[in-house]
């Protein structure tokens, strides 16, 4: 009874002082947060002082003196830790982009298949989703890397795909593209894209004002094919291939040289990430298409749109609005999941920086914070872009 009275008393007391009622909980929270952060900082300072470490990011410019197996930019042991960080970051972005592309393609196909009228096709897609969604991603990565790709043949018995690429236990060897005057080609591509954008704007305006339709899609397709082709004929752009060749390194050891070797770690990681994330994207796509009302299709048909136009102008724009937000989340998840690379020694940001570099420098606080901040930034960038896109295609209500 006494407790209840007391409680009532406090409530009454606060009820009479609305300002205090508003600020008391906030002040307490703020105090608690400051206390915890301060306590941690104090301890960290004491601990680092005991071990003789000074907090700072100067180590980033020191020589790293470790090698990285796979890198998109020039790198060896004589470069700095900062450069090693960049190599790791680029490798993370590489595997994320590959994963996102394949997961999207596969996810859309599977999502559409699940709605197929064909019983076998929809069951097959459902089985795929149920199997791959319910197995931990790490396990799938391990399976592809340690079980499936390890079963590939040695370089001397490589699986020959189309006579130019070779699949071996040491990776997948593909031809290297040797461009001459590459910048002219890029320039022509940019020019083509600018032309296409202006043509589509012009076509839209023309249709709005006069109702006349210009085959903008066909013209765009023509431009994007013809302009780069012209640079090959007149601009001096040339494409040569450097094919991988089998060489004997010692009496028993063979390997491929030349071309580009895609390391098995990258293949396993990209494969597992795409197969796993595709199941989630498939569910998003399915939900999106099912979310468009039947009446929409019937209305489109009744005003005389062809099935193709119905899909392109009525169903897809509405389905995309439902599909895009959850799919963005999946892209974010994929990017974060790519950090599992560390478990199979694909040199991504976590392995290179939070693994090797941290072992060598012992700067746990700086390195873990930089790594976390990097992922935070990547996440925020992707979500800002997607929010912008989402807003652009959102229903503009009048």
């Amino acid at each position: 009874m006494d407790i209840k009275k007391f409680n009532f008393g406090i409530n009454n007391y606060l009820e009479d002082r609305p300002k205090l009622k508003k600020f008391l909980p906030q002040g307490l929270t703020l105090l608690a947060i400051i206390f915890i952060l301060g306590y941690f900082t104090y301890n960290a300072q004491v601990n680092m002082g005991n071990r003789g470490i000074v907090f700072g990011f100067g180590f980033l410019s020191q020589e790293s003196s470790f090698d990285i197996q796979f890198s998109l930019i020039d790198y060896d042991g004589s470069y700095s830790y900062g450069r090693a960080y960049l190599v790791g970051l680029l490798n993370t972005i590489l595997v994320s982009v590959i994963g996102i592309v394949f997961a999207t393609l596969l996810g859309v196909v599977v999502g559409v298949s699940r709605l197929s009228s064909n019983f076998l096709v929809s069951k097959f897609a459902e089985t795929y989703v149920e199997i791959f969604r319910n197995i931990p991603l790490l396990l799938q990565i391990f399976f592809w890397y340690f079980a499936a790709l390890r079963a590939l043949p040695l370089p001397q018995d490589a699986i020959n795909l189309f006579d130019v690429t070779y699949l071996t236990v040491k990776g997948w060897f593909v031809p290297r593209f040797l461009w001459t005057n590459f910048s002219i080609l890029i320039g022509s591509l940019i020019l083509a894209i600018v032309a296409i954008i202006s043509i589509s704007i012009f076509a839209k305006k023309r249709q709005e004002t006069t109702g006349e339709r210009i085959p903008a899609f066909l013209i765009s397709l023509g431009i994007i094919i013809i302009l780069p082709l012209l640079t090959f004929l007149f601009g001096g752009v040339k494409l040569d291939f450097e094919y991988p060749e089998l060489i004997q390194q010692s009496p028993t050891i063979f390997n491929f040289s030349g071309g580009v070797g895609i390391i098995p770690e990258l293949i396993a990681l990209a494969l597992a990430l795409s197969l796993y994330t595709a199941t989630f994207i498939a569910e998003c796509v399915r939900a999106g298409i099912m979310g468009v009302g039947k009446g929409q299709k019937e209305a489109a048909a009744s005003i005389g749109l062809t099935p193709g136009q119905t899909l392109r102008l009525v169903v897809m724009p509405q389905a995309l609005r439902i599909i895009i937000p959850p799919t963005t989340n999946q892209y974010l998840n994929l990017t974060k999941n790519s950090s599992l690379a560390a478990a199979i020694a694909y040199p991504d940001l976590v392995l290179v920086f939070a693994g090797t570099a941290m072992m060598q420098t012992g700067r746990a606080i700086e390195i873990v914070s930089i790594t976390m901040l990097t992922y935070l930034t990547l996440s925020i960038l992707i979500s800002i872009f997607m929010n912008w896109y989402n807003k652009k295609i959102a229903i503009k209500e009048k």
Binding site: N43, P136, A364
Partner: protein, 420 residues
């Protein structure tokens, strides 16, 4: 000329004839495929190579075309046409899938069952060409209990038998007793589990957490993280919707931070960075640190799921509660949360599923649950080369757990569905 060919068009009049020829062509296609892939005998080798490669598809296609007769009156044929053979594109997809199944299923079955070895004690007992389940058989205890001492394994068994029994009983008793069982599971059982496993009291030998492992560790981490992440997530969700700016922004910051970083860096933080933040000399067990890390990580996701539920409730519910003079906590505990949680059962289940699927990651900080133990077993010099068996086994175990969880959540969702 074309007119004369119309007799080739499938029609209802000569139904049996078309079914006969359709089935014949379809059968030839299947026979061609089987003889080709299992007996390496190409019955169409007289044709050019590229044509011969596609003959099963061509024969099957013609066969399916011949039986595509609408409203034939034959029920089986009609449902077949409707479901797998509605147009030429669907028939090709159907054929490709049937071929894939014909080629794939025997290979998988042979590997997993008919050519596999099940019993034995060493690698040498695996004489057949298929899977070597002896590997799992021999390592089974390690995969379940980790490095837990053999003579103490009964403690793990007792703990989990208690769990299974209480959960089993909960299914058969009425609502009133069920409530007490749930309270027991949430507030008493965790202590029983911990004191049984770690020992040190009641005359039990003390066993350090680095000897725990295997599937039991997966369960321990999942159970604790699930129990803790739910209330934390709830407070964060309420905080994010609070009208106090300090509380709102600190909740947003907290949630977005954990959602923006990968779990693996969180685990790194828990294992190497967190000890630096504690006073010198204090030591927090690694398992506890990892459980805290996973809890906070999943709590952020849980908070967003719960927030979705809170936002989905109509405003009238809040207004009605307030007009009855309910305080903030009374309003939320008695009116808002019971309704909101009902709405988000699928989301909660997904978060729990993600949590269970994330547990194998703890191997990066040196704790070996099921996947970690398989990793250890397959690098044992006596057992090299059985990675596939190990991962297939672990995959099956996780699949059963996750599939059961998702089915259970669907049944819960149906049970608590109320019409609005």
């Amino acid at each position: 000329m074309i007119d004369k060919l119309t007799f080739l068009r499938p029609s209802k009049e000569r139904l049996n004839l078309f079914i006969f020829f359709g089935a014949l062509f379809f059968g030839i296609g299947i026979y061609d495929l089987i003889s080709n892939s299992f007996f390496s005998e190409n019955i169409t080798s007289f044709l050019p190579e590229i044509l011969s490669f596609f003959t099963p598809l061509i024969f099957g296609f013609v066969g399916l075309h011949l039986i595509r007769i609408e409203y034939s009156g034959n029920k089986i044929l009609d449902s077949l046409n409707k479901n797998i053979n509605s147009n030429w594109f669907n028939s090709i997809l159907t054929l490709l899938l049937i071929f894939l199944l014909i080629i794939g299923i025997p290979v998988i079955l042979n590997w997993a069952f008919f050519d596999a070895n099940f019993f034995g004690t060493s690698k040498e007992d695996c004489t057949n060409s298929g899977a070597c389940w002896v590997f799992i058989n021999v390592w089974f205890e390690r995969l379940i209990y980790g490095l837990y001492p053999n003579d103490q394994i009964w403690r793990v068994n007792v703990a989990f038998i208690i769990l299974i029994l209480t959960v089993g009983v909960a299914f058969f008793v009425n609502q009133k007793i069920k409530k007490y069982i749930i309270i027991f599971l949430l507030f008493v059982f965790p202590f029983i589990l911990i004191s049984l496993l770690s020992g040190g009291s009641f005359g039990l030998e003390k066993i350090a957490t680095n000897e725990w492992g295997g599937l039991s560790l997966t369960f321990i981490i999942s159970i604790f993280a699930i129990i803790f992440c739910f209330p934390v997530g709830m407070f964060l969700a309420l905080g994010r919707r609070s009208s106090f700016p300090v509380i709102r922004y600190s909740s947003i910051g907290f949630i977005e931070f954990w959602r923006g970083v990968p779990l693996i860096t969180v685990l790194f933080m828990a294992s190497v960075m967190f000890p630096m933040f504690l006073p010198d000399g204090t030591f927090l067990d690694k398992l506890i640190r990892v459980i805290i890390a996973i809890t906070l990580f999943e709590a952020a996701y849980m908070a967003e799921v719960i927030r979705g539920g809170l936002q989905a409730l109509p405003r009238g519910q809040y207004d009605a509660g307030k007009s009855l003079g309910m305080s903030y906590w009374k309003l939320h505990l008695l009116v808002i949360l019971p309704q909101a949680l009902k709405l988000i059962i699928p989301g909660i289940a997904n978060t729990f599923l993600a949590l269970v699927k994330d547990t194998p990651l703890i191997l990066v900080v040196g704790l070996l649950e099921l996947v970690g133990m398989i990793d250890m077993a397959k690098t044992n010099p006596k057992w090299l080369g059985f990675a596939a068996e190990g991962y297939v086994f672990a995959g099956l175990v996780f699949w059963i757990i996750c599939y059961a969880m998702s089915r259970y959540s669907i049944s819960l969702e149906k049970k608590y569905k109320t019409d609005r």
